[in-house]
């Protein structure tokens, strides 16, 4: 059941990407990308609900659950940010990331076959995990916006301002603003997550990934401070946001 639902969510994400791409080719906005991504979101929620019920806790105990949770939070931020900031094409760039994450879960069979049910729930540990993964969703969407900026920047710098993709990309400044806001949002949520991780440790828990999470948190904070205080060129900011997100995924290797 869970695999079928996840396959459905993945199929919907692929379809969202394909319809988005077709719309771009025809030089118009896709009406279906947002709807398909919303449907994928509900399928993901269903998957997480079932896994959560089986475990009796927040479903973040194996690699599959982490990646699905991450994809879910990515779609959540897309659904909130995309329409609000009228960032057309954000769905087109988000859908493949979601499809790849979920495709990995399905292809590599990353879900534990018989999820172990916990006897006692540590509230701080649950909140720590949920907040942290939610933060990575914001970072992931910031990285998507950064990729979009890099594509636009390249076309503008090389004097190739043409083609359906260029026409449909949002203005560079909108992408930079979204990138900065999403990173700030991610840092705030991760701060809460890390703080809860410390509380969890005080209760006797011990996690090596907290160190990695701290490094990630610190790197994002430094980036934000430098961006706000000194300023960073848009290209370097984008590369940093993409690079930091890629590196920060290593934290899940320590979970």
């Amino acid at each position: 059941m869970v695999e079928w639902l996840l396959a459905g969510a993945t199929g919907l994400a692929v379809l969202a990407g394909v319809t988005g791409l077709q719309a771009v080719r025809h030089g118009r906005r896709s009406r279906w990308t947002l709807v398909l991504m919303a449907l994928a979101f509900f399928c993901q929620l269903w998957v997480l609900g079932i896994r959560g019920a089986e475990r009796g806790r927040c479903p973040l105990a194996d690699g599959g659950e982490v990646l699905v949770f991450l994809s879910w939070s990515l779609v959540l931020f897309y659904l909130v940010v995309g329409p609000a900031y009228r960032l057309s094409l954000l769905g087109l760039f988000t859908a493949p990331v979601v499809a790849v994450f979920q495709g990995l879960v399905l292809g590599l069979g990353m879900f534990e076959a018989d999820p172990e049910r916990v006897v006692e729930v540590d509230g701080w540990a649950e909140a720590h995990a949920a907040f942290s993964v939610l933060a990575y969703g914001a970072f992931a969407l910031a990285a998507v916006a950064a990729l979009m900026f890099l594509v636009l920047n390249r076309k503008l710098k090389q004097h190739h301002p043409r083609g359906p993709l260029f026409r449909n990309l949002p203005p560079a400044r909108s992408l930079l603003d979204s990138m900065a806001r999403l990173t700030l949002l991610g840092v705030l949520i991760l701060t809460a997550g890390v703080a809860m991780g410390f509380l969890m440790q005080q209760r006797g828990g011990s996690s090596g990934h907290i160190v990695m999470a701290m490094v990630t948190w610190l790197a994002y904070v430094v980036l934000l401070v430098v961006y706000r205080v000194r300023g960073v060129t848009p290209r370097r900011l984008s590369l940093a946001v993409v690079g930091l997100f890629a590196v920060s995924l290593l934290v899940f290797a320590f979970v």
């Binding site: 030089g27 636009l152 503008l156 990309l169 203005p171 560079a172 960073v232 060129t233």
Partner: protein
Amino acid sequence: MMDVVCLGLNHRSAPVAVREMVSVPERKLGEATEGLCRIEGVEEGVVLSTCNRTEYYAAGRDAAVAREGLRGFMIEHGGESLGEEHLYEMESGEAIRHLCRVVSGLDSMVLGETEVFGQVKRAYRAALEAGHTSTTLNKVFQKAFGIGKKVRSATGIQEGQTSVGSVAVDLAEKIFGHLRESPVMVLGAGEMSRSTARSLLSRGAHSIFVANRSYSRAEVLARELSGKAVRYDEWQRVLTEVDVVISSTSAPHAVVRRPDVEAVRGKRRYRPLFFIDIAVPRDIDPEVGEIEEVYLYDIDALEKIAGRGRERRAEQIRVCERIITEELAKAGLLGE
């Protein structure tokens, strides 16, 4: 089906002084159509009147009689200033094709503009409500609306810019979004700077600084653009505040060099900066474009994009004409 006749004048055939003599306010379109249908030989009629054209569409049993009547009606309203040379007339398939071109924006001053579609619709509705259209013109106008929609959805007739100024403005919007939050500096008070700055103003830019070797000329242009004149030796200070620089001085060498921009990068906190260099010889050293957050477009780069836009438009016009021909042929309205 009766013969269809079109008689009219437009922005190409008549100056505004003549066009305004025969123009009909929208609220009086029904009344004008009534007058049209009193003409001998005219059994159905639609009066279309926009700022660029006034056209009578009529259906009758004898096209020649209807045409003569329409001509007399138009000249009666146009007075002495209206001459035969201002008018054009078409019949049957040619008249229907013309209507389709008008509805599709192919006959407009701004190619592919969409406003004319609504104007034709309102003109038709006024005639319909006044009871002056029947089988022939209903069929012709409905078909023209269908073709107009198809032309717009199936082609890129409205896309792309064809002039240097509009290309520059489009690029500025692609970088900064709405231009109301993007201050602009104009270096040099020549005609090119003026027209490009005006294009930016028309798209929302409102904070404009003008620097020129002659301060009095800078003041004149600044007044015209509702901007602020700055002394020529102060342009580098202003560079820290602006997002867009339009440069068109008559200097024989580069005015803005890489060190000038490097010096203000930190103060600008590395925000994107768009240079539009429309001067020959160029005002902005090409090395400036190598700075990461700088987008530099000189006159050749802009003209190249505008040229592609013009080619694309020409190609799209051919596609539009083909769609019109195919659709009219399918509906049996192509004529001989």
